[in-house]
């Protein structure tokens, strides 16, 4: 693609490490990774199922339901306060180490987030990652009441940024955001292992 006029980033798993909740999980289980993985898998499943059912609830609700499912399924005992502590970890997620630098290198182009997260969750993660002021727009699916990969979600970005869809580079670690590493008949323009490889790819 030509040099993009805007860069739009997925949030969870792309900018923010959702498995950084493992520190909080260690208190209630000897296998925090199992909890973290199942929590994340169910969280995504619930976004797809709710979207298909037409029963939207925001990502905070979905994330809480997925956590409770995972705790129950893994036979973990957790108090209500411990569940709340785990949930709060989502408001203070850490970015992947290279993210702040990678974003600084790209700051000549307007940057945005387009995420399943609720506005409050995204504001929390941006703040805890010290990325305030970096993004021209922090866009949440909450505006359209349906989750990725509904086309209605992706339409939010060109609308907010005032550019054509083809002028946006969308950056995501999730196969289904573009269906690349998956087998869903779509291919990405670029594949990179780290976010700080993007500037190089674009020659900026």
């Amino acid at each position: 693609m030509a040099r993009p006029r805007a860069l739009v980033f997925d949030a969870y798993g792309t900018l923010f490490d959702v498995h950084s909740v493992m520190d909080a999980a260690r208190v209630i289980t000897p296998d925090p990774q199992a909890l973290s993985l199942l929590w994340r898998q169910k969280q995504l499943e619930y976004t797809w199922l709710r979207s298909l059912m037409g029963h939207y609830e925001d990502f905070w609700v979905v994330t809480g339901q997925a956590l409770r499912y995972a705790i129950r399924r893994l036979g973990i005992t957790a108090t209500e306060a411990q569940v709340e502590t785990l949930m709060d970890a989502y408001l203070t997620l850490l970015p992947f180490p290279e993210v702040p630098g990678a974003l600084r290198a790209l700051a000549g182009t307007p940057l945005a987030i387009l995420s399943n997260g609720s506005p409050r969750m995204l504001a929390g993660a941006v703040r805890s990652s010290r990325l305030d002021g970096v993004f021209a727009h922090v866009l949440s699916v909450d505006t359209v009441g349906v989750y990725k990969p509904s086309p209605r979600v992706y339409e939010l970005a060109p609308l907010a940024l005032g550019v054509e869809p083809g002028e946006i580079l969308f950056v995501s670690s999730n196969g289904w955001d573009v269906a690349p590493a998956e087998e869903l008949d779509a291919t990405p323009d670029y594949e990179v292992d780290r976010l700080d490889s993007i500037a190089d790819k674009l020659g900026i």
Copy 2:
């Protein structure tokens, strides 16, 4: 609920054991269970993602793409002929042991299948399970071009059977068919461990 006027069954995982493909998988991997589980998980994910994207392909296509993903992800080497053999296993699935007897006990009420499967796949599984003639209707999502749990799928059953939705007992092993064991705000009328417990529950 009152005694139902029709019983509608999910197919895969409810009547037919999808993990019976493990015999065929043993030829290409020492861990057929890992392949079977990832294949099934991706198969479901792809139905949800395609439905949300509005990119319907039938269940045969989706099942094949999920299999190829799982093979690649697990680093398995398989020839095209071996992939085809695994796919063919889906046309000759085995029923869970109690299924034929359970259905016979319920045969005084009209029985139907409502499934993600393509018509050809469902016909194959019904035949290999020696259940020909048992079902008044074998309904496929292919008619509406979207997968479960879209409400458009479930609407097929009362339409085909000529009864009200509330007069149908829908039987499924999948949480998301009713969202019971899951955390999605819905509860089933009954929960049973085996299909042959249904007649007792209904007092027939």
